[in-house]
């Protein structure tokens, strides 16, 4: 037993049993999202004041169907429960069980109970049970399971919280009856015959007790969800609804989010300029105004889009519709080595690949998940929009195609499609290269439709935004500072270079740009573009800022700054030919579609795949592809 600190209580249960709503009810916003070392699952811990004198930590464990894990993430649960020395090993387990599906939910309960962890059985979905005429006799369950406290609770409105509190406060800390040791369990793990035998044995006991404890007055056979699904899973109407939702999401990301983003952009520009004016000149103030503040701004600029994206996605998740999205898309993703669960990661990557890759955790087969992660950066993220916009304005002449379509809009659309199509093609190729013993399978619960709870939605949005700022933010700010150093100092000068635009050639960054010029010259780029390609590793939209710095232009709006004019007049020093032509511009656009020049994405792939092998392979493959395609485009158009 622990000597210091709070007691630990773990929430354990099947997915969709109301575990996270209970967690929110118990802890309020008093919770932290962290990581389990080595695995990718969020570690959610909060604390709860049960009574005046009793306070405990609450650990929300990932939803699982049994203690036999199917994915690495599910392994978290068995890892903790099998190891008494684990820092998250609970002194009390609250096992949530959906009262409408007691048989399957009791499977996990008996497994936890048998480990000797003091356990409370919490029956949830009371409202749905009542509606379906399901009645559970708590006393029979409690008696059968050796006096385990059984509490009925509605986790959505908190009805029954008092009973749960009483059960928790008065529970005995005595170790339960250990009928199966963790060691015995560990031996079963991965042994199909033993696992199946264990499950069968448990089910026969469960069936017996459930037949005594549960009575169903059958009244509503065609459930509400079944009736809704007849529309939402309809071969035609279902897809119309799905595409309408997609449109809505894109509209949100691209149109609505533009207002707060423009506003934030000018606020951060304003802060930088203000500080530049008032602070005494020096390396520190320069680092602040040209390194740190633009870096932080570069992170926060993503927040409006991500907030909208997470908001819509979490409503879809909460309502139960997301499982239907997986159902409808699985068939179309499989030929490409992806599966229905790849839709959300790819969709999220249109805003930013970092949350996209994080959301690939829901994919249960490792191979499908790796492929999804591998191609996610090919979806054009929002950081590429400023780059696309600048280059398109620079090299694509404006005219009407077929009388109605704007040429520039068409190119923009084409770049998105190019990314998406390439993602599918590369996924299909990767499918044949990756060897695996695993069979891909889809066993997915289609939960009952429910009204989303706004509080839960907002908590999710807040937590995901926070995780993004933590994961991507620190890298973007770090890289911004490094880049500032590289462009502010040079090999010939001890001190900071004043007037950066003129002196950039002298800086380390300028030298790096010149160093890679021979490599990128075949694509039609000069050393200045080389610098912008390198600085894009902070975040791709930095391309625009770097160009502005290089050409010494100022102003918030590209059109007003004269940057376009300066870039248009740029010529190669040796040949005197213009740098930005249709050929080099298109080549650069294609390069940005393919290249994985984003440190935050690489870092998150490193974490999610558990090593540097994948991000490095990914960067080299996509980089080579970017180079090749950009080269071909340059050849064709020049």
């Amino acid at each position: 037993m622990k000597v210091d600190g709070n007691m630990r209580i773990a929430l354990i249960g099947n997915p969709n049993t109301g575990k996270s709503s209970l967690f929110n009810v118990l802890t309020g916003l008093n919770q932290q999202v962290g990581n389990y070392p080595g695995v990718t699952m969020d570690r959610k811990v909060g604390s709860c004041q049960w009574s005046d004198t009793f306070r405990s930590d609450i650990i929300d464990l990932p939803g699982v169907y049994s203690l036999f894990p199917r994915t690495q993430d599910e392994r978290v649960v068995s890892d903790i429960l099998f190891d008494r020395d684990h820092k998250d090993y609970p002194e009390l387990a609250i096992v949530l069980a959906d009262a409408t599906n007691l048989e399957r939910n009791l499977l996990l309960f008996t497994q936890v109970k048998d480990l000797g962890i003091p356990t409370i059985l919490l029956l949830t979905m009371e409202d749905v049970a009542k509606r379906s005429g399901i009645q559970v006799d708590k006393a029979i369950l409690s008696n059968h399971y050796l006096g385990t406290p059984v509490v009925m609770m509605n986790t959505r409105n908190g009805n029954g919280l008092r009973e749960l509190r009483d059960a928790v406060v008065t529970h005995s800390l005595s170790v339960g009856d250990i009928s199966l040791t963790a060691a015995a369990y560990s031996e079963m793990l991965g042994n199909q015959v033993l696992e199946e035998a264990d499950i069968h044995r448990r089910y026969s006991g469960i069936k017996e007790v459930v037949s005594r404890a549960v009575s169903i007055s059958e009244k509503d056979q065609a459930t509400r969800s079944y009736r809704i699904d007849r529309w939402l899973l309809h071969p035609i109407i279902g897809y119309v609804v799905f595409f309408a939702l997609l449109l809505l999401i894109f509209e949100g990301i691209f149109t609505f989010a533009a207002y707060p983003m423009d506003w934030m952009d000018s606020v951060f520009g304003g802060i930088s300029r203000y500080l530049y004016d008032v602070l005494p000149r020096g390396p520190l103030s320069d680092l602040l105004t040209s390194g740190i503040i633009p870096g932080v701004g570069g992170v926060l600029i993503f927040v409006p889009q991500l907030a909208i994206l997470f908001f819509v996605l979490s409503i879809l998740e909460e309502s139960g519709y997301m499982a239907r999205v997986v159902f409808m898309n699985d068939r179309f993703m499989r030929p490409f080595g992806l599966n229905g669960r790849s839709v959300v990661p790819l969709l999220s990557s249109v805003a930013c690949a970092v949350p996209g890759i994080i959301s690939s955790r829901a994919i249960s087969t490792r191979k499908d998940r790796l492929i999804t992660i591998f191609v996610a950066p090919l979806m054009s993220c929002s950081a590429r929009i400023p780059v696309y916009t600048l280059l398109i304005a620079l090299v694509i002449p404006e005219f009407r195609v077929a009388g109605i379509l704007d040429s520039r809009t068409l190119v923009m659309f084409g770049l998105y499609m190019l990314g998406f199509m390439s993602a599918l093609c590369i996924a299909a190729i990767t499918k044949y290269i990756l060897k695996t013993q695993e069979t891909s399978f889809l066993i997915l619960e289609l939960p009952e439709y429910r009204m989303p709870r706004w509080r839960a939605v907002l908590v999710t949005v807040y937590q995901k935004i926070w995780v993004f700022c933590r994961d991507a933010g620190k890298i973007i700010v770090f890289i911004s500072i490094i880049l500032w150093c590289l462009s502010s100092y040079g090999p010939k000068s001890e001190s900071i270079l004043p007037e950066r635009s003129e002196n950039l050639h002298e800086s380390y960054m300028g030298h790096l740009g010149s160093l890679i010029e021979p490599v990128i010259r075949p694509l039609g780029y000069d050393w200045k573009i080389g610098i912008a390609l390198l600085t894009s590793f902070a975040a791709r939209e930095v391309f625009v800022g770097s160009m502005a710095t290089i050409y010494g232009s100022s102003g918030d709006k590209i059109e007003e700054s004269g940057l376009l004019e300066l870039m248009r007049n740029e010529v190669f020093a040796d040949t005197g030919l213009p740098v930005y032509t249709l050929a080099s511009g298109l080549s650069l656009l294609v390069f940005y579609v393919y290249a994985m020049q984003c440190m935050a994405t690489m870092a998150v792939v490193q974490r999610e795949t558990g090593g540097w092998r994948w991000p490095v392979i990914q960067m080299l493959t996509l980089g080579a592809l970017a180079y090749l395609c950009a080269f071909l485009v340059y050849l064709i158009f020049s």
Binding site: Y65, S66, F68, R70, T100, N101, E103, R104, L107, S132, I134, Q192, E195, E196, I199, H200, Y203, S225, Y226, D229, R230, L233, P235, A323, V326, F327, M328, D330, R331, G340, E438, T439, F441, L442, I443, L444, E445, L446
Partner: protein, 82 residues
């Protein structure tokens, strides 16, 4: 006489709305997963919806609904009464 009236067929050959009782699941890596989801001998399964172009099937297991791919359903043998 009743056994004569019963037919054993893979789950994927059930029509929408048709019921069957699980008789057996063929050996496959995901069999423990199916079993833990409650697909055990004697459970009644009903096909509710089908994805287009041989997409997944939505199966009612007890009170809940599961989505399974067509080829996964091939491993599940159900008994139907004719």
């Amino acid at each position: 006489m009743q056994t004569l009236m019963q037919k054993r067929i893979p789950l994927n050959s059930l029509e929408n709305g048709q019921r069957g009782l699980v008789f057996d699941i063929h050996e496959c890596t995901f069999r423990p997963r199916l079993i833990e989801m409650g697909i055990i001998k004697g459970t009644e399964l009903t096909v509710l919806h089908r994805g287009i172009l041989n997409g997944p099937l939505a199966i009612k297991v007890g009170t809940h609904t599961l989505a399974l791919r067509l080829d996964e359903c091939n491993y599940i043998i159900v008994e139907i009464s004719e």
